[in-house]
């Protein structure tokens, strides 16, 4: 399985995600600079966390219009797997590959702590190693993670099984108290309609080694390694 991680000025989790990919696939990903208009031939493209372009204009807005993104969009439309984590999720929403947008956290505070996530479906490239309804503990670290879309879009996402993860309590209950940022319907991650693109705010790559306190994020990378041999 060949992978690429796109690096923007201001990305800062590219090495974390590269480590996670190395652990699950046995191979290091190619790191691709945002000005490149060519992407190597890969099975998976990752947009890592960080603060691309200093979050100018809107989070992810400038990065979504950088040269490499034209190619990422083209590959995604051809069915190549793409995952955007945190800032990567914001970029995917701004690029139009995923519906909705990430607003400032309702608290206006940067939130950096472990959260619980409920896996909404095991029926995807990204979540096959999990059980539907399984509860994961992974960290979040963001200021703009408040997922927003209009009600018609949210209903459609739910109807089509495009909600990947929701914030929940340790026992899996989806409740307001477990929502770290005010996201609509506690949504932490969504798929595109063809389920080859995933965006999520939490950092599964930072929960892939027991030294980091949790290995619950590893299933995501292992699922991809299984599916994209």
């Amino acid at each position: 399985m060949k992978t690429a991680v796109i690096v923007f000025p201001g990305s800062n989790r590219e090495h974390d995600v590269a480590d996670a990919l190395r652990r699950s696939t046995g191979k290091a990903p190619a790191l691709v600079w945002h000005r490149d208009s060519e992407l190597p031939d890969v099975d998976l493209v990752v947009l890592p966390g960080g603060f691309a372009y200093g979050d100018y204009l809107r989070t992810g807005a400038i990065a979504a219009r950088s040269p490499v993104m034209n190619e990422v969009i083209r590959r995604a439309e051809k069915g190549v797997a793409v995952v955007g984590i945190c800032n990567g999720f914001q970029i995917l929403c701004e690029s139009g590959l995923l519906p909705g947008v990430l607003l400032s956290n309702a608290s206006l505070k940067f939130v950096c702590r472990d959260v619980h996530l409920r896996v909404e479906t095991s029926q995807s490239l990204f979540t096959a190693r999990y059980q539907t309804g399984e509860v994961l503990r992974v960290p979040v670290a963001h200021h703009d993670g408040n997922y927003f879309a209009d009600d018609a879009t949210l209903d459609r996402l739910e109807d089509k099984g495009q909600v990947a993860f929701r914030y929940c309590a340790a026992d899996g209950a989806v409740q307001t108290a477990a929502n770290p940022n005010g996201s609509a319907r506690n949504i932490a991650g969504v798929f595109n309609a063809t389920k080859n693109v995933l965006g999520l705010m939490p950092h599964p790559e930072n929960a892939t080694d027991s030294l980091l306190g949790s290995t619950d994020g590893r299933g995501l990378f292992d699922s991809l390694a299984d599916a994209l041999v």
Binding site: R58, A61, R65, G100, V101, L103, L108, F148, D150
Partner: protein
């Protein structure tokens, strides 16, 4: 010519910054402050002299980059 663009959040989109500004105004003793909404103001200078062409170009800029029309509205004013 210059374009002045106001980008504002659509009705119904939560604006926690606007809320925080409203609270701060209350703390300063300004009475009767209702809802506060924060937006962006962008000014662009460009060479185009034809107003219709300029307006069409700025509209494209707003649709493609300056506003995220999922959550924002924009208003364009041409001056000069």
């Amino acid at each position: 010519m210059k374009a002045r663009i106001h980008v504002t959040l659509k009705n119904g989109v939560l604006d926690p910054q606007g809320k925080a500004i409203g609270h701060a105004l209350g703390n300063l003793g300004f009475a009767g402050v209702g809802e506060v909404r924060q937006g962006k103001f962008i000014e662009i200078e460009f060479a185009e002299r034809d107003r219709a062409k300029a307006e069409a170009a700025v509209k494209q800029m707003c649709e493609k980059l300056l506003a995220n029309t999922v959550i924002e509205n924009y208003a364009i004013e041409l001056v000069g």
